[in-house]
């Protein structure tokens, strides 16, 4: 019997229950892996839009599939928890911070591409944007992993955040963006997500009868 009465730890434990299934990283991993292949698809003759389509379809389809199968596959094993808005506040701020960081990065990238940046910023090497983006990605996943008590999110943040800088250092002359590091990060997420899901199915059998019905 767990005798922990630390409220903060209880909160984290309740949050971590929602991430026991590994399905989120299966979806995100496939999304990032396909996103890494956008330039490769484009080099193969597809339009920019067509190249993004597989990633968008997998992401949207994965989310829809998750919400459709959640009651039968997840809730029937883990039960249901509704987190209060008060407790959810740190995750909401994290999401706002992540969106703000991405928008700032995107704005810098667009301005740099269009030559609108003044002075030193315009002359700054492009790796600065990639480094900033990498730090933002890592921070997002690290904070997320911290708040929900899922240490494997640190690994995702590290792999995804370091992908672009690694690509620039080891493959600086690649004509199209070399998908290797980001593709690897996505595939690792898919593999880990798959392993977490398999472990979840074994550790949490479907609960039926009076326990499930309360």
């Amino acid at each position: 019997m767990n005798t922990n009465i630390n409220v903060k730890q209880a909160e984290r434990r309740a949050f971590s229950l929602r991430y026991k299934d590994g399905l989120l990283e299966l979806n995100l991993g496939a999304f990032f892996a396909l996103l890494a292949l956008v330039d490769t698809f484009e080099a193969g003759g597809f339009s920019r839009l067509q190249s993004y389509l597989p990633a968008v379809i997998v992401f949207a389809g994965g989310l829809i599939a998750y919400y459709l199968m959640k009651p039968k596959v997840v809730d029937s094993r883990l039960g249901m928890i509704k987190i209060s808005p008060r407790s959810n506040a740190p995750q909401r701020w994290l999401l706002i911070l992540a969106i703000a960081l991405q928008l700032v990065t995107l704005a810098i990238f667009i301005m740099a591409s269009s030559g609108s940046l003044a002075g030193a910023l315009q002359n700054a090497p492009s790796w600065i944007v990639d480094a900033f983006f990498g730090i933002a990605i890592f921070s997002f996943f690290a904070l997320w992993g911290y708040y929900v008590g899922a240490p494997r999110f640190y690994l995702y943040g590290l792999l995804l955040g370091a992908a672009k800088p690694i690509e620039l250092v080891f493959w600086p002359d690649a004509q199209a963006s070399f998908p290797g590091p980001t593709l690897l990060a996505g595939l690792v997420m898919v593999l880990v997500g798959g392993w977490v899901f398999a472990r979840f199915l074994r550790a949490y059998p479907i609960v039926s009868g009076e326990v499930a019905n309360g």
Binding site: M1, T3, G79, I81, V211
Partner: protein, 107 residues
């Protein structure tokens, strides 16, 4: 013989014994941090068996600290547990009472 003044009683003497049992304290703690939870998730979080959990939830409900919301998910009945306002206030008071006593103890 001197009568014991009620002011001489230890602060923990008046502690809420409904909450003070370890199993009920765990249930109250988890319900304090989430809005609602069902029996299945509480058995996973607390490690209590279904029977044990059901007994303790019954006592908390009797004390007016926990409310059970029954609804249907599909065709199956489903119960969600949550703290009442009284339960939330009682838990806060319990937490403060215990902290104020334990924090004064030397290391």
């Amino acid at each position: 013989m001197d009568n014991i003044d009620s002011n001489d009683q230890h602060p923990l003497a008046g502690i809420d014994r409904v909450i003070h049992a370890p199993a009920r304290l765990m249930v109250m703690t988890y319900l304090y941090v989430v809005d609602k939870a069902d029996y299945v998730s509480l058995t996973h979080l607390t490690g209590l068996t279904w029977g044990n959990l059901s007994t303790h939830v019954g006592k908390l409900e009797e004390a007016g600290y926990v409310k059970i919301e029954k609804k249907f998910v599909g065709k199956k009945p489903h119960s969600l547990l949550m703290l009442t306002k009284q339960g939330r206030a009682a838990f806060k008071a319990y937490k403060q009472n215990l902290s104020s006593v334990l924090n004064q103890l030397p290391d």
